[in-house]
Amino acid sequence: MPKKQDATPDLVRKSPLLPKSGDFIVDHKNLRLQERKALSAIQVLSFKGKHQASAKAISAVLGIECSTQPGVCNSDGKTQVAWNGPNSWMIVANDEEAGRASGELFKTLQDAIGELAAVIDQSHGRCGLRLSGPRARAVMAKNTAVDLHPRAFGPGRCALTSVAHMNATIVQVDDAPTYDLFVIRSLARSFAHAIEHACHEFEGEQ
């Protein structure tokens, strides 16, 4: 028989970055590295022949253009729709910033495009880090071979590549420059350590 306890503990999402609760943050004059918490990360894989229709449906339901072009990530400032492969997107948002309840983004997409594509919740499987500041590109140059020069990359662009020898997604957010880095949760600490290490050189800058 189903048994439900009367008082059940609240759900608290635990960051993969820290043994205890708190904020992971590096804050220098020319650099800031922090975790993007309360992340929804929804992977969409369109079914056969439904790619364009899926893109249209995503654009319609989120009000953000969903591009079928490789390396493009459109955003309304809160929710990012990043190209994630030939038939795939990763749709990412901080639930609090986007004003959604936990799990709501997944449900919205599932309801809207469930017939056109597989909608897969990866929210707990990805760790998001935001690296920002005048030295951000120099830090990235230590960890990835992708050309992030403003002439080759910029806001609205994303890359699925190797960062610090780990598979990651880079999304450029703005010209600060600000980059969002997404990595699988199990590697979060090794990944953050590598990025943090690359920041040390600029620590003393005034």
């Binding site: 189903p2 635990k14 993969p16 043994p19 079914f47 990805r126 199990s186 090794s190 290490h197 690359a198």
Partner: protein, 997 residues
């Protein structure tokens, strides 16, 4: 007196800031801007080390990274670095350097006796001498040779500094910031192209800093400083100093080393010692300059013998007199600069010895003006002196008399001509060609997007360098897609012709035999080249290996062309017929640390942690690496608990009560689409079309060749939605396997899939009380009727959403619950809390392994890539009426034959003795002598708390029909033999009643 060889003014050093350092324990001072070599020369120190083979005294030959001799041990303790070039070490306060390859001291070196035995140490000496007996090769010869020959010693402590790697892209890369490189950078940068200009020196300008040139009416170094300032102000230009391009690879990828902190006592906080750069330039301009080659005369390795250009570099750039009385020996006009510059610096230039009969009249007049004696048609035949040059013996090049004229001097500045630095061009895959007009090799046809300019191309006039630089910079930017540059080259004062006449080897005074060195770092003489040629090693590549010429850390920068030319003379052929050896990376010696970058120690490999990792760590769990994952292996409870204590306790607790294990690392793949069932049906050997929703099934996948690839359970969550699990090791490979088949074999199938391993934390709850525990927290009916063995479905555990599967790896009544990973630790804690009153515990991978062996579940050690489903006793699962991957090949006759290794259980018949993995199974009547007598081997072992004896799984020839036999398990490495009994691989609950309870 300190710095007695310093000029009273001049040089680009900061005389206001003096720097103290020690060499071989003695203290000296130099100035900021000095190299270790220039500072030692300023103090009159020439003797720097002993040579590789003959332990001859050696001094400073050059003023750059081509230095073969002045190689020292830099710093002490963990920062000690052997074999560094004194000519490139920037002086810093407190620098400590030591000479190498000498004992007991540099001035008196016991091994110098090698010099007397040199006839025994000829070319190919190793190959001829250390032939027999073979037993001496490693035990005797190796040790003797290692001690006698060689350079510095490696540090014994870990390097406290770190290294890192960096990447950068650009449109135009310019290598070398001399007159040609700077001109190219100015032209390319003016088009707005992204430009990287790098140079190995701390000061940009190349020869403009070491020569007395004049450009646009200004001194050369001032023009260079202005050009650098202009480039620095442009944001499309990246200027890099102390950076040496050492490798040119395919697709125009090049690599460089930046010596970030080598000029400092210790790196600044957060800064690496060195940084390796990988560049991806659109076009590369090689303005790498040229290297002067020595003249090959007797005792040309004596301290006090120096390249002519190096002598004037010390005077011009560092304000150092490299000697007091100088003889200049040359075969070209360029070395006359040395006579003039050294004279200006206050060195008494006693003679210029020119091997040409008719030196240019203008130069003759200039020397006359300064009353410097010119001896034409003659050269230095040999240098005199023990640890330093005392005199030069001058012979005529006509060879009419070998009675030399003796000129007393303490410096012989010699020039055999200039070799364009074609190394990077050669590395790029191109073939340099011989140019008779400069008697050296120049770049051939380009194979990649690169071009050589200036001295690197064999154009030695300053105006040519400026013109070619400007044109090449504009052209490269144009080719990279930028608008043509409109920029004019600077103009330089005419420097006159170069006018070289080759002199490859000097006549010997008195017809005496002198050692004439070609490769000073590896102690290779002209006579070794002759001998190798006589013995038949007369091709460029063979000669190099036989004599070791060019194989030292300087890669023969000063010796290659001389050696090839002498070989050509031996063969009686022109130089181009002999050819040129191929240059390979690295251009300069590069420390291994920089290749590792920061991926050492903690960062050697990334670590994958589960959501329960922190809890495991707090419990003091002992971890095991499973790929990149760290998994809890066992949980010590008391001090002194051994692994055996732990896994036996954990196994007993599971089998008698209930326990949790973290199974997050298993691969998980989400599969969706109308053709998902058909896709699975082709991947697995068993049937998938009729699996009901809410059910899990165990499946086996084969490789194309019919061998078992992986196993696991897949559950049907909805009509077109499946959830596959794989082994930890094969999580990646199975997904790749699926991608490959879907993309290239069955693109028509409407199915999509991706890894969701990271989304879910997996917790197995196993043991007879597992249902009782879960019923307290799970919101669905767990009765046998509602949720039977192999059921699967969604649930909530307290507040946590999850997926529940009734599957068992332990053989007990068991469930596996998956929850979103950020709730993983919470779920784990809630399960422990709920099970507290019934005494729930946890177990690690060791107990997990014990229980799977007891239950006879095959795993990685049995799925070794050589076993078929039949070998593993799983053929019953296969539906041979359908198609699946590996079906055809699994039916090959040899895979169905008798005599194949089949999985069996094994029980140790020796009390208290566990079996060993890898033991060979043999008939007790024969002794294991060869592998042919082995009938199989043990794949997995454990002590079974259930059976109270050592048990194992193994692969045994025709094993399925041999239950009950007794065999020997032999472990030859330890000379151990144990009696075992063959049995069914399922040791406990063969009917599977427990899992269905």
């Amino acid at each position: 007196m300190s710095q007695q060889y310093r000029t009273s003014n001049g040089g680009q050093i900061n005389r206001a800031r003096s720097i103290s350092f020690t060499f071989d324990g003695k203290s000296y001072t130099g100035f900021e801007g000095d190299t270790l070599a220039s500072a030692l020369l300023a103090n009159g120190v020439h003797l720097m080390g002993r040579s590789f083979k003959y332990h001859r005294p050696r001094g400073i030959q050059t003023a750059g990274s081509e230095e073969p001799n002045a190689i020292v041990e830099l710093r002490t303790g963990p920062r000690k670095e052997p074999n560094t070039r004194a000519t490139t070490i920037e002086l810093f306060d407190g620098l400590v350097a030591k000479s190498q390859n000498r004992w007991p001291s540099l001035a008196f070196d016991a091994m110098a006796i090698n010099n007397l035995f040199s006839p025994l140490l000829s070319a190919g000496f190793y190959y001829k001498t250390f032939m027999w007996p073979a037993s001496f090769w490693t035990n005797v010869y190796e040790h003797v040779i290692r001690r006698a020959a060689g350079l510095g010693t490696a540090p014994t402590e870990a390097d406290p500094d770190f290294y890192e790697q960096c990447h950068e892209h650009c449109d135009v890369m310019i290598v070398g910031a001399g007159p040609a490189g700077l001109s190219a950078a100015l032209a390319a940068a003016s088009t707005d192209a992204r430009v990287i200009l790098l140079d190995e020196h701390p000061l940009l300008g190349g020869s403009l800093n070491s020569e007395n040139f004049s450009i646009d009416g200004k001194p050369g170094n001032e023009w260079a400083a202005e050009a650098v300032a202009k480039l620095e102000a442009m944001d499309n230009v990246h200027l890099m100093t102390r950076t040496t391009l050492f490798g040119y690879y395919d697709h125009n990828v090049v690599a460089a080393i930046e010596k970030v902190s080598d000029h400092l006592p210790v790196p600044a906080k957060g800064h690496p010692r060195q940084r390796m750069w990988t560049f991806y330039p659109g076009r590369v301009i090689l303005a790498t300059g040229a290297t002067e080659r020595p003249l090959v005369f007797g005792n040309n390795d004596k301290p006090g013998v120096m390249l002519a250009s190096a002598a004037r570099t010390y005077a011009n750039l560092y304000g150092v007199k490299p000697g007091r009385r100088a003889v200049i020996a040359t075969n070209n006009n360029d070395a006359y600069r040395s006579a003039l510059d050294l004279h200006r610096a206050g060195v008494n230039v006693v003679a210029v010895v020119d091997s040409r009969q008719h030196p240019g009249t203008q130069l003759v007049a200039e020397l006359e003006k300064l009353s410097i004696r010119l001896i034409a048609g003659a050269t230095v035949g040999a240098a005199e002196g023990r640890q330093h040059v005392k005199a030069a013996q001058i012979v005529t090049t006509q060879g009419d008399t070998l009675d030399p004229e003796r000129i007393e001097c303490d410096l012989i500045a010699a020039s055999g001509g200039w070799n364009p630095n074609v190394h990077l061009h050669s590395q790029s895959g191109a073939k340099p060609v011989y140019d008779d007009s400069i008697t050296s090799f120049i770049p051939g046809d380009s194979r990649q997007a690169e071009v050589s300019i200036g001295a690197a191309k064999g154009s030695f006039s300053l105006q040519n360098c400026l013109d070619q630089g400007t044109a090449a910079g504009a052209e490269a930017a144009k080719l990279a897609g930028f608008k043509a540059a409109n920029i004019k080259a600077a103009s330089a004062k005419d420097e006159g012709a170069y006018a070289i006449e080759a002199l490859w080897i000097s006549p010997t005074p008195y017809n005496k035999s002198f050692k004439q060195f070609v490769d000073q770092q590896n102690d290779v003489k002209s006579s070794d080249v002759a001998l190798a040629s006589q013995e038949g090693y007369d091709s460029a590549e063979l000669l190099k290996r036989y004599t070791t010429q060019g194989m030292a850390t300087d890669q023969g920068k000063t010796s290659n062309v001389n050696t090839l030319a002498i070989l050509a003379c031996q063969r009686g052929e022109p130089v181009p017929e002999v050819g040129i050896t191929t240059f390979r990376p690295p251009y300069v010696a590069v420390a291994m640390g920089v290749f590792a970058g920061h991926t050492v120690g903690y960062d050697f490999m990334p670590v994958r942690r589960t959501a329960i990792h922190d809890w495991n760590e707090k419990q003091g769990a002992v971890f095991i690496e499973a790929g990149l994952w760290l998994r809890a292996r066992y949980y010590p409870q008391r001090p002194g608990d051994t692994m055996n204590d732990c896994y036996i306790r954990e196994t007993n607790a599971t089998r008698s009560n209930v326990a949790l294990v973290d199974v997050t690392s298993l691969g998980k793949i989400d599969i969706q689409g109308p053709d998902a069932a058909e896709f699975l049906n082709r991947l697995y050997i068993n049937n998938w079309l009729k699996l009901p929703i809410g059910k899990a099934r165990y499946g086996i996948m084969l490789r194309e060749d019919g061998m078992v690839f992986d196993d696991g359970t897949t559950s049907r969550l909805a009509e077109n939605h499946y959830y596959m699990t794989t082994t930890t090791a094969n999580a990646g490979p199975v997904l790749a396997h699926m991608e490959q088949y879907h993309q290239s074999e069955w693109p028509e199938l409407d199915v999509v899939f991706c890894s969701v391993t990271e989304q879910w934390t997996g917790i197995a709850v196993a043991g007879p009380n597992s249902r009782k525990l879960l019923e307290k927290v799970i919101d669905i009916d767990l009765s046998n009727e509602a949720f039977p063995f192999m059921a699967a479905g969604e649930c909530r555990m307290n507040n946590i959403p999850g997926r529940l599967f009734r599957i068992s790896f332990s053989g007990e009544l068991a469930y596996e619950i998956n929850v979103p990973a950020d709730y993983g630790e919470q779920a784990w804690l809630e399960l422990l809390e709920a099970g507290k009153e019934m005494g729930v515990s946890v177990y690690g991978t060791e107990a997990l392994g014990t229980m799977r062996i007891e239950k006879g579940h095959v795993a990685g050690s049995e799925l070794d890539g050589r076993t078929t489903a039949k070998d593993l006793g799983l053929e019953g699962l296969a539906n041979r009426g359908k198609h699946f991957i590996g079906k055809h090949n699994s039916e090959r006759p040899a895979l169905l034959d008798e005599g194949r290794l089949q999985v069996v259980g094994l029980k140790s018949l020796v009390v208290d003795r566990n079996l060993r993995i890898g033991s060979q199974l043999v008939d007790p009547k024969v002794k294991l002598a060869t592998v042919n007598q082995s009938q199989g081997h043990i794949t997995a072992t454990t002590y079974s708390p259930q059976l109270e004896c050592g048990i194992a799984l193994g692969l045994l020839r025709d094993g399925a029909s041999r239950h009950g036999e007794q065999l020997d398990a032999v472990f030859p490495l330890d000379d151990e033999t144990l009696k075992v009994e063959v049995c069914h691989p399922v040791f406990i609950d063969p009917e599977g009643e427990l899992v269905r309870a």
